[in-house]
């Protein structure tokens, strides 16, 4: 991996920023504000970081200058922005927001705005949108095209999973979760998967919709007896079996859903402990 940003010569870094500043003002000005200079420095650091942390084994050789690493990183950011566009079009070909307003706004309205306004050269570190629909992975440490790339990947996995079920079935689960679910800022998979946990644990086919009082009591008992760790293991096991059944061992999707196991276990256990399993196991 990389030399580390501190290893680059300060004057090399400044020289890259100066050149970038000249391009930024395109000969119209001889000066910029501190804030703009800082933003351009962040743009340079973003590209360098992109090269140093790229997945395909890029190696920063000791003799490489900051300028060389920056240019290589810039090309990677450019490629990623292109990939984001491709992935977005692929996603939108079969996209369904299931009536969830914040998912629709973020994906169908927000991301095109990002694609239109993203500035690879002068502000690659800017994410430009707030990515309001909550995904099951923490991407707060990412910014710019990295964040949007990862976000689209996650939404694609979610769509892949939800697409395995009848859309009216998904919408009905959401409606039973909250009558006004369209305006919630919650993850759809999280709600659907919690519901599915009930079916799997009771060995109840999805076609048999709804849970009887006995079934809810039984589920309550199961989760009362399990420790948090055991509950997580149980949920993790059922997600894996679900993946094998529905998504043909999609490892990335499985890993993505694994990120929600802890939250699901906590939510199910607390729902059961306050005597309202019907708020978790909906349909």
């Amino acid at each position: 991996m990389g030399n580390g940003l501190s290893d680059y010569r300060q004057e090399d870094m400044l020289s890259i920023v100066m050149k970038l500043a000249e391009q930024y003002v395109s000969g119209d000005s001889t000066s910029i504000t501190y804030e703009r200079a800082q933003s351009l420095m962040d743009a340079v650091l973003y590209c360098i970081n992109e090269y140093e942390h790229a997945d395909d084994g890029n190696f920063v050789r000791a003799e490489m200058t900051a300028g060389e690493v920056y240019e290589l990183g810039f090309r990677l950011v450019q490629d990623k922005a292109r990939k984001v566009r491709e992935n977005y079009h692929r996603l939108m070909a079969g996209f369904d927001d299931y009536g969830m307003e914040c998912l629709r706004d973020t994906v169908a309205k927000g991301i095109p705005g990002f694609l239109k306004r993203y500035d690879v050269r002068f502000a690659p570190q800017e994410t430009l949108l707030t990515l309001d629909y909550p995904i099951l992975r923490d991407i707060r440490e990412l910014s710019g095209v990295d964040a949007v790339f990862e976000y689209i990947r996650c939404i694609e996995w979610e769509q892949q999973l939800l697409g395995r079920f009848d859309r009216y079935y998904v919408r009905e689960i959401l409606r039973r979760y909250h009558l006004d679910y369209e305006h919630l800022f919650e993850n759809i998979c999280h709600i659907v998967m919690m519901n599915l946990t009930g079916h799997v644990l009771l060995h109840k086919p999805l076609a048999e919709q709804g849970f009887t009082g006995d079934e809810l009591r039984k589920l309550g008992l199961i989760f009362t007896e399990l420790t948090e760790e055991e509950a997580e293991k149980t949920i993790d096991g059922y997600i894996r079996s679900l993946m094998e059944r529905y998504c043909k061992e999609n490892l990335l999707l499985y890993k993505y859903l694994q990120g929600d196991v802890h939250a699901m276990a906590v939510r199910i256990r607390s729902g059961v402990s306050v005597g309202h399993p019907e708020k978790i196991f909906l349909l």
């Binding site: 940003l5 300060q10 004057e11 400044l14 920023v17 100066m18 500043a21 000249e22 119209d28 000005s29 001889t30 000066s31 910029i32 504000t33 501190y34 804030e35 703009r36 200079a37 800082q38 420095m41 962040d42 650091l45 973003y46 570190q125």
Partner: protein, 180 residues
């Protein structure tokens, strides 16, 4: 992300020396108007430039604006050798201050054209008036969305937005007649 740190002293010294040379080279052109900078003057201007940039929180990359100010203003009838350096210092301060005030909307040329035109016509060489009235009114207009200067490169713009009533020759003559 990282912060910009000050560069090494040698780099700063080299930049300063380069700027002093640029200012002294301008003498070849300005001496026809009776304006010349000594090496001491040039050093002082470069020092003042750094102070102004720091105060206005701006960074100059490569070229300095000072030579452009010199070439734009040196033919003015209102600048004399006796206050040449002080005038350049003030013009430089105003330039950077109003670059910020106008949110960098104007290019260097547009701002310099505007400053020079007002200095010659409306201000009659009064730097305080240029700063406190002309640039102030213009910057307010620019912040409010005025963009006609893009077509005119900053020339002939002030009269469109000027709201100040100034000396009126006709009124003066009328009053004079009344006094008689």
């Amino acid at each position: 992300m990282g912060e910009i740190k000050t560069t090494g002293n040698w780099l700063e010294a080299m930049t300063q020396q380069n700027q002093i040379q640029q200012l002294l080279a301008a003498n070849q052109y300005t001496e026809q108007f009776g304006l010349v900078l000594s090496e001491q003057d040039a050093k002082m201007l470069v020092r003042e430039r750094m102070e102004t940039l720091k105060r206005e929180r701006r960074v100059e990359f490569g070229k300095s604006i000072l030579p452009a100010i010199i070439y734009a203003f040196c033919d003015s009838a209102y600048i004399h050798q006796s206050h040449y350096v002080e005038t350049l210092i003030r013009l430089q301060e105003m330039f950077f201050m109003y670059k910020n005030e106008m949110d960098d909307e104007l290019t260097d040329d547009e701002l310099l054209n505007f400053m020079k035109e007002q200095f010659e016509t409306v201000c009659y060489g009064d730097l305080d008036y240029l700063e406190g009235t002309c640039l102030e009114i213009f910057s307010e207009a620019v912040r409010a969305g005025y963009r006609d200067y893009c077509r005119s490169e900053g020339k002939g713009d002030f009269r469109k937005i000027d709201i100040v009533t100034r000396w009126d020759r006709e009124l003066f003559e009328t009053v004079l007649k009344d006094l008689e």
